[in-house]
Every structure is written in structure tokens, then in C-alpha cells.
Amino acid sequence: MKSLEELMAIKNKMQNKVSVRTSAGDIRVVVGMATCGIAAGARPVLNAFVEGVDALGLGDKVQVTQTGCIGICQYEPVVEVYEKDKEKVTYVKMTADKAKEVLEKHIKGGKPVIEYTIGATQL
């Protein structure tokens, strides 16, 4: 069982890091989680990003957040990636597997996966 001692250890580790955390260079991954998104499969996408950021040790640099309806329901699940001084990248019709790929290549590697972006997708 994941014990409270482990949670305490996480706390102690984080407390030392909190002061180092800066907003410069941060990446924000935003997943659309309204009814339309949930129905289209946004939950596994969100969880793939949350778990992947932890597994890749990117927690200091990357924030995974949620938003309501982005207004392009037919493209759900939709994921937007915001990075300082860069243009927003919008991924559409996402899956957990695509999320893992985006994490590796874009979030970690710095190169957007063009084929999953809204510009590359035909309706």
C-alpha cells in the first residue's frame, strides 16, 4: 500500500524545490474536459499527460491543466500546448498513445508532432 510515509517523503522533497520553481520557460499542457471532451475520450489523454510528466521527471517544467469546452467538439479530445515565446500548438483527436508520443517528441524533445495538430487534420 502506498503509505503516508511515502507522501511525507514527497512533501520533504518538494519543499526544497518550491523556491527554485520559476515560470520562465514553463510549458503548459491544457486538455479540454467538458462533456464533449469526456465523451470523446479526454480522460485517458489527461491521465497519460499527468502520468507521463511524472515518469519523465518533467514536473518542474511542465504543468498539465484542464479547460472547458474549446468550441471545436468535433475535434475532441483537444490538447493545447503553451510555451513561452512560441506559438500555441493545438492537437486534435488525441488518444493516450498520441499523448505519450507528444510528451516524448514535443514536451521533452521540443519538436511538435505536426501530424496530430489541427492544421494537419482533415474533418
Binding site: M1, K2, L4, E6, L7, M8, I10, K11, K13, M14, Q15, V18, M33, A34, T35, C36, I38, A39, R43, P44, L46, N47, V50, E51, V53, D54, L58, G59, V64, T65, Q66, G68, C69, G71, C73
Partner: protein
């Protein structure tokens, strides 16, 4: 949607949007029924809003024309022989405002869908609203699973968000462990 846990996520998002700071989700299973209760201390609904709730074309959203949440849940519950009941007190009526949605399902009915991944649903909710106090209780004939944001926060202190990936990973592991223990 093919998991009850996804409906729970969707209905709980209503509570989040209503500005709730306390949200309690309880699931009580017997061998043939599931009673789901989601209650919040959000803004609540007026009598007029409440009466329109089962109408799939009613929503206070501005971004989308059709509200699907509650009618979906109602359809699923009624298909299995159960029901959905929504009770609400609007903030203009009382300080004790909030909404309680109760749903009963007959889980052996052919139209019922699996409970599904409640862990993913909880982690999603906590990631989206780390400041909200979520209480989760899932009682099954074989045992129960519990989660409380407040309990985690009392250990972490107020400076560390429950949405930190490492914290969420711990929460995920803890809830999964509890479910595994019930299964054994």
C-alpha cells in the same frame, strides 16, 4: 460513454462549475444495485432551473447549445430500472446552498455499463481542481475505498498543490492499492 466513472466525472464537473469548495462522491454497491450520490456546496439551482434539468436542451452554458450531462445519467439509470433525483438549494435562498444528485442503478440489468476506472476519474478531478475538498467513498460488498483531499492536504501543508505530478502519482497508487485489496 461506456463507464459509470465517466458519468461521475461529468456530473462532478457540474459541481466544480457551480463554484463548490466541498464535493462528496459516494458509491454504495450491493450485489444488485449501485447507489451514487454526488453532493456539493456550490451555487445551487433555482426552482425554475431545477424543473428544466431533465430537458436535454437546457444549459446555462454559453459555449455550447446542448446540455447533455444530467439527461444522459437519467437515461442510463432509468434503462436499468433505477432513477435520478436532483435536489438543490440556490444561493439566493439559503446560506446552506448546494446540490445533491442521487442515482440508482440495477447493475445486473443488460443495459448497465461497468463502473469502470474510478481512479482515473478522481485523479482527473484533483488535477483540475486541486483546491477543492473531494471526499470519495466507494463501498462494495467485499470492502471499501476512500479518498479525502483534506487528509492529503493536512500532510502536505498548504504550499504544495495536490496537482503536483508526484503527488497525483502517489494518490493514484494509493487508490489503486485500495481497489486491489478489495479484489483480493
Amino acid at each position: 460513454m461506456d463507464e459509470l466513472a465517466l458519468y461521475v466525472l461529468d456530473i462532478t464537473m457540474n459541481s466544480v462549475r457551480a463554484g463548490a469548495t466541498e464535493i462528496t462522491i459516494t458509491i454504495e454497491e450491493t450485489d444488485d444495485t449501485i447507489l451514487l450520490v454526488i453532493s456539493d456546496n456550490g451555487c445551487g439551482m433555482t426552482e425554475a432551473q431545477l424543473s428544466k434539468l431533465s430537458d436535454p436542451f437546457f444549459t446555462t452554458r454559453t459555449t455550447r447549445k446542448v446540455g447533455l450531462g444530467i439527461p444522459f445519467l437519467k437515461m442510463l439509470a432509468e434503462m436499468t430500472g433505477g432513477y435520478v433525483k436532483v435536489e438543490s438549494v440556490h444561493e439566493s435562498v439559503s446560506e446552506e446552498h448546494g446540490t445533491t444528485t442521487t442515482a440508482l442503478f440495477y447493475k445486473n440489468h443488460v443495459d448497465f455499463i461497468p463502473v469502470g476506472n474510478m481512479t482515473d476519474t478522481l485523479v482527473t478531478l484533483i488535477n483540475g481542481s486541486p483546491e477543492i475538498n473531494f471526499t470519495f467513498i466507494h463501498k462494495m460488498p467485499e470492502g471499501e475505498v476512500n479518498f479525502s483531499s483534506e487528509e492529503i492536504r493536512s500532510i502536505l501543508g498548504k504550499d504544495i498543490s495536490l496537482a503536483e505530478p508526484e503527488v497525483l502519482a502517489w494518490i493514484r497508487g494509493n487508490i489503486e492499492d485500495q481497489y486491489n485489496e478489495v479484489d483480493n
